[in-house]
Symmetry: C2
Subunit: 157 residues, 2 copies
Amino acid sequence: MSEKAIQDYYPDQLSYCYGCGRLNEYGHQIKSYWQGEELVCHFTPKPYHTAIPGYVYGGLIASLIDCHSTGSAAAAYAKSKQIDLEQEAAPRFVTASLKVDYLRPTPLGPTLELRAQIVEVKERKVVVHTTLTANGELCARGQVVAVLMPENFVKDT
Amino acid sequence: MSEKAIQDYYPDQLSYCYGCGRLNEYGHQIKSYWQGEELVCHFTPKPYHTAIPGYVYGGLIASLIDCHSTGSAAAAYAKSKQIDLEQEAAPRFVTASLKVDYLRPTPLGPTLELRAQIVEVKERKVVVHTTLTANGELCARGQVVAVLMPENFVKDT
């Protein structure tokens, strides 16, 4: 498993995402690491991240799949372009579309594991498939089309 | 516009959802109201619900679309079955699949408006299309397949 997460390579000004920004003190601060050809992320929901009591809130599941997938897209893009992340900031991807299939209720309590597979890396677009498991059981499956963030996306501050 | 939200008719034990449960003190507590043939919901993100600075976190957008759509599914189902919600608890729907297309960045600051259209009501399934607008501009479009919650879904406590 890689030692640093892709999110640790985002430039500071792009590190305030509620899902994955290391500088958002209120957010989830998820971390995505290479593990072989996949990227893995672990997250333990809080007791209040509930849907029906005993199960994880579907919006959180969608959020985790979204952020882990865009992070994985950035990592895969950097790899394909041979970007040295120790020298250059990581590219930043945004979500064009997100699809989540909820296959079974996700129990609230155990640490969730997300695994992203890179389906396709194009010039400005990466397609990612991500699974979410709890206690080794597949609970949700996601598909994300991530696009390279336009350079004019960040407002001047 | 209807006076009470569909979420106000959920039974107490099913009112702890992080997105829409009126009894989840940490959650979003969204409210969905009939307005003509659609259901509408307004929500103002917090300053920390950010993606790239200046824009709303995509995971929150997915969460709002998810909860407003399942709430709308419950309302539409109750209407189709002529359930008197003043006498009976509202049915509860869970998400089978969620698809969100992010059409443009959603500005962080203004109140967001979600509008749900009921596409199809079947015996145990409702399909809902939901739009999300900010300042009158369409920012995201969602499609939710919601299914009636199985009766054995709630764990005995």
